[in-house]
């Protein structure tokens, strides 16, 4: 028995618009990407090989699933022509099919199965043709049955089309609520109905109400209420006194303080209502903190504190800089280039010097320990073009993290909060801890974080 999974891009085009940061076939249902549910079912049915076909590019899937060795099956990929039918697909994959019976799963739909039941013998004995179907999706079997018809053991199998946020929400909740007994779900440790990933920090005063699924690298701060029926992705911070109930929080999302997320899907800085399809953006920092707490901390005290601290650093580091910089420059160990980065106010960019410091010899190493590669940027703090500590400056050609105009949750700094916290600063992850500090930072806490960044950065550099 082998399996072909056939998808057409228009079936999941809706997901691209709403969840732009993840490929639809990798969209998490509960805490597992969609494609893995189909691979599990293919294995349950006794498949030794699976081929994924699509009429568009499936590069992200190839990089995620690779050759299938992780599931002990042979996984291959191919393309699909617009007017292909089940029958022409078999022709186009004749070498893959060989003489085996083939199960063709087509359409972007959620398969409702139960891993405890025996689909293998059923799949082997059913006549050729359609096994299950739903609008826009079907499971068909090709070729003659391999075994005599099994007794009519009830092995329910049904399909649910994933045609929009509402069906995606229902499917995710179904996967969560039926939990580990029906589907193979990672992270389901001791307690049923509660899956928790790695590196999850839960405050003592946080409450977890099952069923709940929490990903990796997540922080649940004081007095948060998670659940019931809450799906939290990876690289997520749920700030103090917020509650997440009957909701999905996708990867790389920051939920602010005292917020109520009920019956919603939060993804990046968008909050979506799966029923009405309405969505609002959450990158407006004050919106991330409840309105009761007065949000009138004006920017002035922070800018002054940053400028003073920058002045101190400029003078303290002046001597080592004036000594090391010429030597490094002459030795060719100091290469700098100008790069354009987004400035704090949307639409504008600032050009920053990016220094490539070769730290292989003693001089270079000391310069890098003293963060001298960012010495020139300190002067930009005096003119308030940069904060002393803030977000990692983002190159101008990459899309602005908060595409809509009112990008108040991004403030480029000489040092970044991610460096201070040594949060895994890869793309989306850094943004999360930075958004958290942008909402919480006051002048005093910022200075503390500058020291932390200054100390942690060399450590991070040497290990990088």
């Amino acid at each position: 028995m082998k399996t072909i999974l056939a998808f057409r891009e228009e079936e999941f085009a809706w997901s691209h618009e709403v969840f732009s940061c993840v490929h639809p076939l990798l969209l998490p249902l509960c805490n597992k990407p969609f494609i893995e549910f189909l691979i599990d079912f293919a294995i349950l049915v006794g498949s030794t090989a699976v081929r994924i076909l699509c009429d568009g590019g499936i590069n992200p899937i190839e990089r995620y699933c690779e050759d299938g060795s992780r599931w002990g099956i042979a996984l291959s990929y191919g393309s699909l022509h617009g007017d292909d039918t089940a029958e022409t697909l078999l022709g186009k994959n004749r070498k893959f099919c060989g003489e085996e019976r083939i199960m063709i799963v087509s359409g972007f739909s959620f398969i409702r199965y139960d891993k405890r039941l025996n689909y293998k013998s059923l799949a082997g004995s059913l006549p050729e043709g359609e096994w299950a179907a739903c609008p826009g999706g079907s499971i068909t079997l090709s070729g003659a049955p391999e075994k005599p018809p099994a007794d009519g053991a009830a092995t329910p199998l049904s399909l649910m089309p994933l045609d929009g946020m509402a069906s995606y929400y229902r499917a995710s909740m179904e996967a969560l609520e039926t939990g580990a007994d029906r589907y193979v779900l990672p992270g389901y440790g001791g307690e049923p109905g509660c899956a928790i990933g790695r590196n999850v920090v839960i405050s003592k005063s946080a409450q977890i109400r099952k069923p709940v699924s929490i990903g990796n690298n997540v922080q649940l701060l004081g007095d948060t209420i998670i659940g019931p029926s809450a799906i939290i992705g990876s690289n997520v911070i749920i700030d103090r006194e917020s509650s997440v109930e009957s909701s999905i929080v996708l990867d790389n999302t920051y939920i602010g303080e005292q917020l109520e997320v009920i019956g919603r899907i939060a993804s990046g800085n968008r909050l979506n209502d799966p029923r009405s399809g309405a969505s609002i953006s959450m990158e407006d920092p004050h919106l991330l903190g409840s309105i009761k707490k007065s949000q009138t901390l004006s920017a002035l005290p922070r800018k002054v504190a940053h400028a003073l601290a920058a002045l101190v650093m400029i003078s303290v580091l002046a001597v080592p800089f004036l000594f090391l910089w010429p030597l490094l420059k002459l030795g060719g160990r100091w290469r700098s280039a100008q790069i354009d980065c987004h400035s704090e106010n949307p639409g504008e960019t600032i050009s920053l010097g990016k220094v490539e410091l070769d730290a292989t010899n003693a001089l270079g190493a000391t310069a890098s320990t003293l963060s001298l590669d960012r010495y020139f940027r300190l002067f930009r703090v005096l003119t308030a073009e940069l904060a002393l500590i803030g977000s990692t400056p983002l190159p101008a050609e990459e899309p602005h993290p908060n595409a809509p105009a009112n990008a108040l949750a991004y403030r480029p700094g000489v040092f970044s909060y991610a460096e201070a916290e040594q949060w895994p600063a890869t793309g989306g992850d850094a943004a999360i801890v930075e958004r958290y500090h942008l909402v919480h930072s006051g002048p005093i806490s910022d200075i503390g974080l500058v020291v932390k960044a200054f100390v942690n950065r060399p450590h991070e550099k040497s290990s990088a």
Binding site: Q258, L259, E260, V261, I262, R264, L271, D273, S276, A278, S279, I280, M282, D284, P285, H286, L287, S290, I291, K292, Q295, N406
Partner: protein
Amino acid sequence: MKFTLDNIDGQLVGIAELEGRLDARNSKPLQKTFLEWLEKTPLVVFDCSLLDFIDSSGLGAIVGCLRNALEKEGDVRLAGLNEKVGMVFELTQAKRLFSIFANRGEAASSFAVKPDPGTGR
């Protein structure tokens, strides 16, 4: 922003129509003009049926208006919130501070009923 005065069973109720966007640009003017309206009556309805965007400063302005009205034993009641605006109120729990009605008619007539002291907010 249109502001009209209605007489509901002897109660003078102000109806303010908010339109388009309420954000950092126009939230200060709203709070200022609200004080003038407050001179006429402490009971005000914000008809938001034409309001299609609100951010935190807009929300802050509306909460500010409520605070001023409460100081004058009045109230600000909201009507006709669309889904997006409603979501902002629900997310920030600001909806707990307001009575919210489907349309301006219901909101205005809710002032006519003598608020039963027991359930006063």
